[in-house]
Symmetry: C2
Subunit: 295 residues, 2 copies
């Protein structure tokens, strides 16, 4: 199969799997489940779960195998978006062209829908993920590390703390923020696919490095689009970073400089692929897609 088609087939299969998640049959819990499904079925790019599936494929496993873990990763990513959008945080009214969860269901429900995703993500892994107990435990360990203090949440704290600092943030700090905030979970997505496919430690390290650079590139492009695109194209506010004085790759390097940083990250990602034996054409295309996306 052409690698572009395989990538699209991961995405379709993943959407189908995600649509099938119900969380509870208890009607009293219907409003919570509705808010969660609203948030998770909003047509995101699904970079993380499809990366997890492609990683499994590269190391010889059926992408179908990793669906529970891929969904868990997407649920955790979704919870982070819900919480990041809250009035006390980024205070965003729109996400992917629709009202954010707190705009639609209220703030309390948004906080709780986010919270509930974590437990449900773990249930997906511990009840539905096939593999040896050692492998499944390793998946949980990987997710734990990438979502705690030295992961996604710590990155968000740093991002907020440095908001207002704009161009005064140094390069090292900027990269640290985004290694934690976006890089860690994207790295875990690829690594988890590799773990479940039984890849060697060296292969896991190579695909982790690839994914970390991919994640950084993803964030750099996000910053560039925020500065240069329109709300219509993005489905969310444009120009909001500069208004808030956020520390971004654009505030530190300028638009052209940020584009060069994105190119450099893409090159490092592609170099890491050189250490993997299997068919990495899909991963190469993903790196190009992330670099050149326009929304």
């Amino acid at each position: 199969m052409d690698s572009m088609l395989r990538w699209e087939s991961h995405r379709e299969r993943f959407e189908e799997y995600l649509h099938g998640l119900r969380f509870s049959q208890n009607p009293a819990l219907g409003p919570l489940v509705e808010a969660m499904r609203y948030a998770m079925l909003s047509g995101g790019k699904r970079v993380r779960p499809t990366l997890c599936m492609e990683s499994a494929w590269v190391f010889g496993a059926d992408p179908e195998l990793v669906l529970p873990s891929a969904a868990a990763i997407e649920l955790i990513h979704t919870y982070s978006l819900i919480h990041d959008d809250l009035p006390a945080m980024d205070d965003d009214d729109f996400r992917r062209g629709r009202p954010t969860v707190h705009r639609k269901y209220g703030e309390a429900m948004a906080i709780l829908a986010g919270d509930a995703f974590f437990g449900e993500a773990l249930t997906l892994i511990t009840v539905h993920q096939k593999g040896t107990p050692e492998q499944v435990l390793e998946v949980v360990r990987e997710l734990a590390a990438s979502t705690g203090v030295e992961g996604m949440v710590g990155g968000q704290v740093l991002d907020i703390n440095f908001t207002g600092a704009g161009s005064e943030v140094d390069t090292e700090t900027l990269y640290m923020i985004h290694r934690y905030k976006t890089g860690a979970l994207i790295k875990s997505s690829a690594r988890i696919g590799a773990i479940l496919a039984g890849a060697s430690a060296e292969e896991q390290a190579a695909i982790s490095e690839y994914a970390l650079e991919l994640g950084l590139c993803f964030q750099i492009v996000d910053d560039v689009l925020n500065a240069t695109s329109t709300a219509e194209k993005l489905g969310k506010s444009a120009g909001s970073d500069a208004e808030r004085g956020k520390a971004t790759f654009v505030s530190v390097f300028g638009v052209e400089g940020a584009r060069r940083e994105a190119d450099a990250a893409t090159e490092r990602a592609l170099a890491a692929l050189g250490r993997i034996g299997g068919d990495v054409s899909g991963l190469r295309e993903m790196a190009m897609f992330v670099r050149h996306r326009e929304s």
Copy 2:
């Protein structure tokens, strides 16, 4: 050792273990770690972790064995308290006699400190908990179930949705709310101790039933204290449930009726202990402590 002394020794050992948790050496993450430690080192009753330790002891294990899981449970409980106190939820200014996390560190930090606890809890279990991979995975599965939609978070959603309904909530719904909101995690605390100690399925079921009833009794007594005690004794607002029209055991059964429900739950808890072979004197005392506590 006298069971009262053993209970106190669990608590002391647990506090010491909790004090040792640092989460990160990265100074940039200091403010997040400070907010987390402020929340978790506030001298709570530690019912859940000590119950986990006592459960392990009853089934023949060294309580020291289960410390990482016991701490994970307490971190998750702490995160739920931080989020419950937020302005969009219960809007509480004080907890255990001190300003709540959002009053002291701001709302964004309170949301994120709560979020970070989940990842850190999982790291404690997956990196530090000894046991077979099957046992450790079972611990994660148990925590996942008790903290998701049909657990702690779903219970909080129901609690909020029924606020204002006061005495119109039926008995069945009221018990459902609290089985989810408080019961599930307390049940898991006992069950996790049993799992790690290698207890049989029957013993796990018996101690789970005991703990679920203990959890319900805990909540009933909470409701009674909220209606009858003072803020000074409780270290948090008194009388706030009635003001908000919350659906509580007092709003449904009245103070005396609620006390009878607490007695009945305690009796069911003690009956479940009858199916356990080991020395359950400590568990019996814990049930009496929960029933008769005054703060």
